[in-house]
Amino acid sequence: MQETLPTPNVPPQNASQVSTPAGVASTQPIVKTSSTTMWDAFEHILMFISLYVMATSIALTLYFFADKWFPGVTAESYYRSSSWNDLKLNLLRGYLAALIVSFPLFAYFFLHITKRTMLNPAMRSIKSRKTLIYITLIVAFIIMLVNIVSTVYNLLSGNITLNFVLHLLITLSVTGVIFVYYLYQVREDRKINV
């Protein structure tokens, strides 16, 4: 796939991967090992930001549905006032807005980066990519850990309700998908030592 660099001041370093602007190619040294640019790092950062926003809003929307269809004890008895409902509906609109905006961004960056990574394995060794993947793995791990600990705590105190189990399942599946996918990516990255 031919890529045109969006910023002219970033020098393309691998002529086989990047279509160079006219007049620049002859002056640039061709370095085989490093064919990634600051732009790739930038795209990774944008992709991870949209991933966080999207994953959070998916989880929060699913929580809302779980609370609506399988209300827990407190949700049923204490908070049945009109203003509370209004607040929750407004929050739901916020989550939907975040989803509507973040999903297309994430889909674009994800597909774009995956495509470039397949054509140019050197992408896998970008420092910011590694940092972001590891941060994501750590945060996902912490979220899952905290949720499982709180489930065990509630189990011990006998407070397990269907609503609670649903919340746990939602958190675990959203975080788990991200965790497993990026764990797989890390293993793929480690195969390529460039």
Binding site: M54, I58, T61, L62, F64, F65, K68, S81, S82, L89, L92, R93, Y95, L96, L99, I100, F103, A107, F110, L111, T114, K115, M118
Partner: protein, 149 residues
């Protein structure tokens, strides 16, 4: 690469389903506009109510028409820009009528049983409907005349 496209499409379908279900629950943008319009109407009724109470305090009678009061309160429907209908129900009550866009009888929480007589908590049907309001006791009592005692 194909499997990545498939997973993004599947994720997209899932996200779309969430958005559609969310919009069904939270109300479509069009119905939200109608609800907002009706809210504005009730807000206008609430301001008119205060104006009428002020008028009663100074003149010791209900105004014969909405135009009789000071003009710094809007007596026009926010959508149709026609004037609200106003009827006096002697001795201390009156009705404000307009064409509402929604029926709020199922959604509004009625606090009026607890002594509040706010126009914002009144129910109305879709289409032409009237909201009955009453002068508060303190307004009536503040004008101590034999007629009102």
């Amino acid at each position: 690469m194909f499997k990545y496209y498939i997973s993004i499409v599947l994720l997209g379908i899932f996200v779309l389903a969430l958005i559609v279900e969310g919009i069904i629950i939270a109300g479509s943008p069009i119905s939200q506009k109608d609800i907002q319009l009706d809210n504005n109407r009730l807000q206008a009724f609430e301001s008119i109510k205060y104006q009428i109470e002020n008028y009663y305090k100074t003149n010791n009678k209900l105004p014969a028409s909405l135009g009789e009061m000071s003009s710094n309160v809007s007596t026009q429907d926010p959508e149709t820009k026609t004037s609200f209908d106003y009827k006096i129900i002697p001795p201390y009550s009156y009705q404000l009528c307009t064409i509402f866009s929604t029926d709020n009888s199922k959604t509004v929480t009625n606090y009026n049983n607890y002594g509040s007589d706010s126009a914002l908590d009144k129910t109305h049907k879709k289409g032409y409907d009237c909201v009955a309001l009453k002068l508060s006791d303190y307004v009536i009592n503040s004008v101590r005349t034999p007629a009102s005692r």
